[in-house]
Symmetry: C2
Subunit: 421 residues, 2 copies
């Protein structure tokens, strides 16, 4: 990367910082007006956005990208409408900034208020889907943060066009347009420089493949909130309703296998395995799912089933593949998940509420489900509007990250001349 | 470091992890019983602790350590009583584990509970004062976390004796004694290995000099919550009560200059400088404080005052030295603090409440004071009982860190068979 390019990333970070201090003081009404202005601009510039997107699609076609990726990359009238709607939905969400988290008085008369404040500048590193660009801009601005975006090379024309439209719209609002910055260079070296701007950037959220996320986590001097992968489990207890378990497991595995909250391993109590596994396996096979089973699983549903190796228990297939293990007890299921899981989303299916509570309490994951599909781990599904990502970290944010998770807090201490004895 | 030593650190981390899973399920009463048992054991083993401490003191005397350091290192009857009392005070504090942070119902009937849970295993790296050992054990256990302690070489006999007494006491309680681990090796290589146990250790809190903290932050694969330094400011507005400002500034600089929440830079509005600076400078000189002033400061209180250089604005003196700057406006004070400060603790002295609020809102620091001394940034002073440290990070914890800050959260989702459409 040239010195010029490097300087431009540093300059962006500085400009974002200055803008963030201004933005942090704006009232909700000013931020909402900006969200409306951006939503309107997206709709009005639909044909420009589709034209720019076509350039990315042409490049993708030349490179023989997978059909699923090309689909994720495509913008059309409907998707642009959805992007605009997401900004309007964000307008409706409660502004977390200034919220009083607690207030207490000390014996010496000091009054201490703990209030929510924006982080400052948030860097978002992401891949493929261009709608992420406007969704993240909306969440960051509403929570009072400036944002630096670095999208994937494959969507560079689309992302640049979206940012151009959004920042132009901001010029007619109180939100400084420098609060939205976009790094157009696709090079890793540009990312490297961004990750060293700890003086100006307060938080990095990487979204994408495990390789990208590991690169970011290892190279960043700025705190990173992330998840590497989602190795999600469903445990079918001997106290499960078999029909419910079939439904939930099918949904968790088949409905959208390529996402982080899809099930990768199914654990089944040995007392229910003979009744449950044959019907479940038939369901899964019909959907084209390859099963990799432990010895007891293979005993029950046939030795033609592939053997699960130790490696399968930690694998995130992101595909129509499922590892299956028969366990002796609730405790064995809990221990398996805590040992092999990725602490993302795990479920138990049981009619015994006490057993369910013990599972929820004992498994060390961000989101735990009693009698529901792990597929619900999602900002929109949780009612947070949208999300900038999902965290399996324990520091700061766990699970879907939306407006509240884009804030930190500070203590305001009101005195009347108190000094320390 | 030998392979044997390295294995022993890894083994400790594994044992702590196993113990933490057990500890996380214990009721408050069991944790409180353990705190009482440990407090009793410290009192009963007073003479043993003083005997072991004498070995550290003898070594320190041989090495001609500073008197202040030797004082910090010393254990006597009074200090051991205070250590025991801190454990009993921690017993009185509210257990944060299991607290419901929010609960909401989704249109599809899912009920989502956000509850406080322990981190798991917390590593605490610290220097000199042996009471930190038992204070941190108390806070970690009460918040349901196992703890791995690594104290400074200078207190190794004392720390080892305290841990021996505490873990022996735990053997008669429900808290597994493996929940308290102690790394006796003073080598940095032992620390290095601990910092790579991200599989078993969830959080690292370094306490000590900036060098130690930078080493930990740069080498850790585990998330670190910390502060590097405290460059704290007091801004004396043109609307300040001069007597109050004298009191507060004197307290913030002189009462205990060697700590992170002491004032390092005083900012004074130009309209009050002629009335305030001469009396304040006289107070400070009486206390032996060296003043380093900007040109306008030197114009007012005499050219014999040392010149402040650019470097002084970022310096944490931890000593009877103060940099002083005359500013033109509230905004200049805010900009100076945001640019040169360490985002720890900053104060304004003013009779104008509106101006005060603007300062509190605009300065990006963990703790902001209106008409009070920055010296109050402290877990005990905030009413948190004790603290494991003070954070200037924005991720997870900001300001004094005690029980609540030693927890994270997870989402429990209660369904009746819901699947994602």
């Amino acid at each position: 990367m040239s010195i010029k390019d490097s300087n431009s990333v540093i300059l962006m970070a500085q400009e974002a910082k200055v803008a963030s201090l201004k933005l942090s003081l704006l009232p909700t009404s000013a931020k909402n007006a900006a969200l409306r202005a951006m939503a309107g601009a997206l709709r009005r510039n639909q044909s420009y956005l589709i034209k720019e997107n076509a350039k990315d699609l042409a490049a993708a076609a030349k490179k023989n990208y997978a059909k699923a990726l090309i689909d994720r990359l495509s913008l059309n009238e409907k998707r642009i409408k959805e992007m605009a709607q997401c900004l309007l939905d964000t307008e409706e969400l409660k502004d977390p900034v200034g919220q009083i988290l607690s207030v207490f008085k000390r014996p010496n008369g000091l009054v201490i208020k703990k209030i929510r404040v924006p982080f400052g500048v948030i860097g978002i590193i992401y891949e493929s889907r261009p709608n992420v660009t406007s969704d993240c801009v909306g969440l960051c601005l509403k929570s009072g943060n400036a944002v630096i975006l670095k999208g994937g090379r494959e969507a560079s024309y689309s992302n640049q066009a979206i940012v151009f439209v959004l920042t132009k719209a901001l010029r007619r609002t109180q939100v400084p347009s420098a609060a939205v910055q976009f790094i157009s260079s696709a090079r890793r070296s540009a990312l490297d420089i961004l990750l060293r701007q700890e003086q100006y950037v307060d938080l990095i959220v990487p979204r994408g493949g495990e390789g990208l996320i590991r690169f970011v986590a290892e190279h960043s001097r700025i705190p990173v909130v992330k998840h590497y992968k989602g190795v999600c489990h469903t445990y079918v207890s001997d106290m499960a309703d078999i029909e419910m378990a079939r439904n939930i497991c099918w949904n968790a595995k088949v409905q959208r296998p390529g996402v982080c909250n899809a099930m990768e391993t199914m654990l089944v109590h040995r007392h229910i395995a003979h009744r449950f596994l044959p019907v479940m396996a038939a369901d899964l096979r019909k959907a084209g799912v390859e099963i990799r089973g432990c010895p007891r699983t293979r005993n029950i549903i046939g030795a033609s089933v592939k053997k699960a190796t130790e490696r399968d228990w930690t694998e995130e297939y992101l595909d129509l593949i499922l590892s299956v293990k028969v366990v002796d007890s609730l405790q064995e299921a809990i221990d398996h998940i805590n040992m092999y899981g990725s602490h993302h989303s795990d479920a138990i299916v049981t009619k015994d509420h006490k057993e369910g509570e013990h599972f929820l309490k004992s498994v060390d994951s961000a989101c735990l489900y009693l009698n529901a599909s792990t597929r619900f781990t999602d900002g929109y599904q949780f009612g947070f509007g949208a999300e900038v990502g999902i965290s399996t970290d324990k520091l700061h944010a766990r699970g879907p990250m939306a407006l509240e998770e884009l804030t930190t807090y500070k203590y305001l201490v009101y005195g009347a001349g108190q000094i320390r004895e």
